[in-house]
Symmetry: C2
Subunit: 203 residues, 2 copies
């Protein structure tokens, strides 16, 4: 199990590799991958070395092998089944344009408490949040995206944990509190923008 820090970098490699493959590369140098993902070639080689991937001197690394290895590590195609809780603007955007999330991720349903948002006939059905427990258990869902307002985020989160959810991607601007065996990644748009201003030094 690699750290969060490294998992991020490895997934950057993966998307660069998919792109390079599309461009016709069979083999790539650590230097190329580094340039595409903004790290030095040393880091790339170190990471591959740790993953027990070998390259060939003067030839580079086989693109297909790298992608296969990364997929083994992060899980095969099509096992990323998730639900989206909170069908406001962001939640709606996610459920509407599913391909945004790549063909490897499947949104099985959306949930909301507002009856006007419910739509069982939708390509991705939007159900009432009261049904979340049944749905999660029947479909063996383990990961949820939370896009509810700040005020209800912790309550929604508690319910999801109770249903057996083990991973949460949270867009509500609160840091959710969860038991040790649940993983949460919080993303706050406001904070990210604030940080862009700060690091771009335009304040």
């Amino acid at each position: 199990m690699v750290s969060r820090h490294i998992s991020k970098r490895l997934l950057n490699y993966r998307s660069a590799l998919v792109q390079l493959k599309k461009m016709g590369f069979d083999y790539v140098f650590s230097k190329t991958i580094g340039e595409e993902t903004g790290v030095s070639s040393d880091v790339v080689r170190k990471d591959f070395s740790n993953m027990e991937i070998r390259g060939k001197r003067k030839v580079g690394y086989k693109v297909d092998d790298l992608i296969t290895k990364l997929d083994e590590m992060f899980g095969k195609t099509c096992c990323f089944e998730i639900i989206v809780v909170g069908i406001g603007n962001i939640g709606k955007a996610l459920t509407k344009y599913e391909n945004y999330l790549s063909d490897r991720i499947k949104i099985k349903a959306g949930f909301d408490i507002n009856p006007s948002r419910i739509n069982v006939d939708n390509k991705i059905p939007i159900l009432h949040f009261d049904e979340v427990e049944t749905f999660v258990k029947e479909n063996d869902i383990k990961v949820a995206v939370v896009t509810v307002p700040e005020i209800s985020a912790q309550l929604v989160c508690n319910k999801l944990v109770e249903c057996g959810i083990k991973g949460i991607l949270n867009f509500a601007p609160v840091m959710l509190k969860v038991p040790d065996d649940v993983f949460v990644k919080n993303i706050s748009f406001a904070d990210e923008i604030t940080r862009v201003f700060y690091h771009a030094k335009v304040n």
Copy 2:
């Protein structure tokens, strides 16, 4: 200038502090802030010490002082003026529900190349991307959010840099290449979800 790593933590403190203030706290212990943001009290004290914020033994830190100090550091209210480029699902969600972004951030305009999406009468005007240069220069915009498809992201980015944009929050699943004096933060929904699966160990 603190590292990216630390800027994130400091903004977590800020939102916890705003919340605590609303709850009636005038003073808080490092321990409380730590609990709210998922770090140890030692880290909190160390960070405050580095920022030259002093607390009182047995009393804690003054909430208002902390918020003021953090705001000084990250910029005062209302100077976060941005544009959103690409009015697809995510871009539309951002421009529609601006308050999501907190009252400190102001979206001045949206841009797209699709004429059907253009709407100058909107509360947040949606303009043609051809007008971006004029707009950015006239309004002295320094930060942009990019929510265009992968295929056009780098081209859009190049144009923005040419216009004088210094900070970009990018939701397209490519790592944008920019000159050294431009700061980019890439967020890939697909990668974030994949990482949640990985770290939640549900694969």
